[in-house]
Amino acid sequence: MTALQLLATFIFLAAFALIASEKIDKTRVALAGAALMLVLGLVRQQTAFHGSPDAPGAGVDWNTIFLLLGMMIIVGVTRHTGLFEWLALRSAKAVHAHPVALILVLSVLTAVVSAFLDNVTTILLIVPVVLLIARALETDPVPFLVPVSIASNIGGTATLIGHPPNIMIGSAGHFGFMDFVRYDTPPTLAVLVAFCVIVWLGLRSRLRVSDEARARVMSFDESEVIRDRPLLRKCLLAMAVAIVGFVVHGYLGLEPATVALAAAALLLLMLGRRPRVPGHEDEYHWYNDIEWSVLLFFIGLFVMVSGLVELGVVKAFSRWLVGVTGGSTIAMTLLLLWFSAIMAGLMDNIPFVATMNAMILDLPRQLLPSGTGGLAGAIHHPSIMPLWWALSLGACLGANFTIIGSATNIVTAGLAARDGHPISFKRFLKYGVPITLVSIVISMIYLWLTFLRDLPPALG
């Protein structure tokens, strides 16, 4: 390694460690690391901001930024309609507040909502309702909260827009919404079924509540929750436009980010100049709900990864991977699946996915004769294809290993602790480890059946 490569690697790993330590806000770390790389000349600004044809994986991925931005705008408005609280209360009453059924129905609801909208927002809206339901049932809320949080991460795995790692993988790997429906939704459904079985087996004989307490939950009046029906109709229309747009974007020749931005712009236009939000009548703009710090975090990371790409660090890493696995797609896929799952369980999975994306983009140069089917042909080559999905399944599902593995789990634990019900690291593991191990084993079987068993012997 050259001195410059070592310096860039050091900056990146130091940022990685600081982000994992959660001592300093991760956005500041990412922006400082990006600034440092630019100031020291480790990456040219042109490459860092706009990419470069000879550095695949470098550049700020504006697809990811605008897709996140569009979905943030839509969910930021929709969260004020009461739709999520209404759904949670309706499903609780549909199962007559029977505790285990309640946990399962709230988990499945959270998984489905998380597949289409930001997981953290979903959790921020569902968890208070879950806490109040548990309070009305006079029971410990933790067996309700942990499965709901885990289900949010599972649900987010299913689609392109469900989880930021998938947005990044979709953009880097040129996969559309329907590619994720085809390759990520089936294993996610299998994992969700396994999750329900594990939760049911684990909790069915442990939760007992009185009929009186159940009657209390049944008396919650969900019709009071929808505060602004015209606003809800506009949000549902924008979401419908977005989802139809995602389904057909490939046929229309539009990128997913374009669809999200168009749906968000449509919603903002429908809202008019001064939106009315209960409790926020003054000085309120819809843009307040956009998580700018998350977008800046992504931009900072993309700049840092650009440095690693331009200096050839990523190439050295992909050469190393090809070396230790002998270039075997099966070995690389399984290694990537488990490695991503463990990394995701230990820290925020975004920096890891940003790096792995760049590495997978470099692999065709190591493995395939040059000029194989152009860029799209090379990164979708049978020897490369399973790696994308191993990364997606590992990084999304592995986040459930520990309470710090995903923002969703951290937010749930924070709300629960402030409500007087702390969830210890150890208590979370009792749910997280079995569910995640089963998830990853299901992913292995799925990857084997879908990609690996049909590989030509030369590639295996």
């Binding site: 609280e85 309702v129 806490l131 009305a136 919650f220 009046d221 929750v225 007087g420 019900h421």
Partner: protein, 159 residues
């Protein structure tokens, strides 16, 4: 009348000490007729404020605070309580009083300074200090009364 806080504030002010129990201080707050009870140390220095809003927030579980609207809760189910799990009694005032930022005005401050603090931070009553020591309390009503009086003066003096 010079429009400074000293001229409109109330010098008879009930206070709390950081070590006393929350319930005793809360009862005094209600008796005071003000919305906030200044908390002072043995030397008479202002160290915090215990307001009605602080007490309501304390009684409210995080699950309710996180809601956009609690209209769906049925009449028989009320999660508000001054002794919830995260706050078992007896709690000393010092644990729950508002300290950072500690909003107060100097006794020679302009009424506009006090009024702006009240509007911007949703405060009804502000402790008044002089060199760090509590000397009084001023409320929205005190300021309005002064404004009304001076408006009366000017209309009265018109020919």
């Amino acid at each position: 009348v010079r429009a400074v806080v000293r001229n409109v504030m109330n010098r008879e002010v009930l206070t709390a000490s950081p070590d006393e129990s929350l319930t005793a201080a809360a009862a005094r707050l209600l008796r005071s007729g003000r919305t906030a009870l200044p908390v002072i140390d043995a030397a008479g220095r202002l160290v915090g404020v215990l307001s009605e809003a602080d007490l309501l927030a304390l009684a409210m579980p995080e699950s309710v605070k996180a809601l956009e609207d609690a209209a769906f809760l049925p009449p028989g189910f009320d999660p508000l309580s001054l002794s919830c799990a995260s706050n078992p009694p007896p709690t000393p005032v010092g644990d729950v009083m508002h300290t950072e930022p500690l909003y107060a005005v100097e006794e020679d401050a302009a009424l506009a300074e006090a009024a702006l603090l009240m509007l911007r931070h949703g405060l009804d009553d502000l402790p008044v200090v002089s060199a760090g020591r509590l000397v009084g309390i001023v409320g929205r009503r005190d300021i309005l009364r002064a404004l009304l009086a001076s408006a009366g003066d000017s209309t009265g003096s018109a020919p």
